[in-house]
């Protein structure tokens, strides 16, 4: 019944806890960056574990695009209960995943209100995607941007060594 919101509430508490923790130690300057990377790191580890479970029974992926499609469909459905609405790529290692109604942002607003608070709530999900991809063998950098809530775009840039 209320299953869907359990993770959303946990996530909200996680974010506020991390920020409260940092704020109590002073030093407002470094706070933002370390909070975001803490959240991202948490998402990273969780993403690694999740991928292990989700790909247990599926056949191996043909190429990077196949992996991204898996992330957009099965992974997103399992975590956020819907698919990614739009996947764009330049076929050179950059992918843009667009979610028009991102599950963790739906409660914020339907427009531009609280826009500056949004990045905090996207850090964990960026880490999630980065962890998932890293466990599948793709090192990448994941960033997110929001222009109009609750839609957001995740940009994945695959690092080629």
């Amino acid at each position: 019944m209320a299953d869907d919101v359990l993770f959303e509430f946990l996530h909200m508490e996680m974010v506020s806890h991390i920020y409260k923790d940092q704020a109590s130690r002073g030093e407002m300057e470094k706070d933002r960056a370390t909070c975001v990377s803490t959240l991202e790191g948490m998402g990273f580890r969780v993403g690694q574990g999740l991928i292990e479970r989700f790909t247990k029974d599926s056949p191996s992926f043909k190429d990077d695009l196949d992996v991204m499609k898996f992330i957009c469909k099965d992974f997103w459905i399992n975590v956020f209960r819907k698919q990614i609405d739009n996947l764009r790529t330049n076929h050179q290692g950059t992918y843009v995943l667009q979610d028009n109604k991102f599950a963790l942002l739906t409660q914020f607003s339907n427009g531009k209100q609280y826009l500056e608070e949004a990045p905090k709530y996207l850090a964990y999900s960026c880490g999630l995607v980065r962890g998932a991809l890293s466990n599948l063998g793709m090192d990448c950098v994941v960033t997110a941007e929001v222009s109009l809530m609750p839609s957001c775009k995740f940009q994945v840039v695959i690092q080629k060594i």
Partner: protein
């Protein structure tokens, strides 16, 4: 990147017996060799091609080096098979190396997960009762246990596997494989 879980169970009866001497008359049917190794890839090292063992287990400890060597050479074959994926295939790979050494026969089986973790099992060829689908089910169990290890918050990807649950699963598997 390979995760090798090497579990080698050479002689189940000597494993059971511990240090007691084990002869065919006391131990029953001929003991089997069984080696399992798990290789991981999480630690990025440009020197080592990212294949390093996360877990190694062999029942009789003697001749372990020989099995390390066997498994490392078999990793090349595994890499070959992974890079040959041109069409959608199941991620189960089988390596049948046959007679690797002139004195003894070993069958080497490999399995690669989607996260590029490799499991390698080496069994003695005199163990003819281990059929293909039994090996497959062993790999499934290994994969399931490894997934559980990955989801354990106290496990950092890249560490050697210390989980007791994993150990006991491998032990049970080795006993069953005899």
């Amino acid at each position: 990147m390979a995760v090798c879980i090497a579990v080698i169970a050479k002689e189940v009866c000597s494993y059971w017996a511990g240090t007691k001497a084990c002869t065919p008359s006391t131990c029953g049917p001929a003991p089997y060799t069984f080696y399992l190794q798990v290789f991981g890839h999480f630690f990025f090292s440009p020197l080592f091609n990212q294949n390093y063992p996360l877990y190694i287990r062999s029942v009789p400890i003697q001749n372990e080096l020989k099995f390390h060597y066997t498994v490392h050479t078999s990793l090349d074959v595994v890499e070959e098979k992974i890079s040959a994926v041109g069409k959608a295939m199941a991620d189960q790979r089988e390596l049948y190396l046959g007679l690797l050494y002139p004195t003894e026969d070993y069958k080497v089986y490999g399995y690669v997960t989607n996260s590029k973790v490799k499991f390698v099992i080496v069994v003695d060829s005199s163990n003819t009762s281990l059929r293909d689908n039994e090996i497959r089910s062993m790999f499934r169990k290994l994969h399931n246990s490894f997934t559980d290890v990955m989801c354990n918050p106290f496990y950092n990807p890249g560490d050697t596997i210390q989980s007791k649950a994993f150990d006991s699963m491998v032990t049970a598997m080795m006993v069953q494989a005899s």
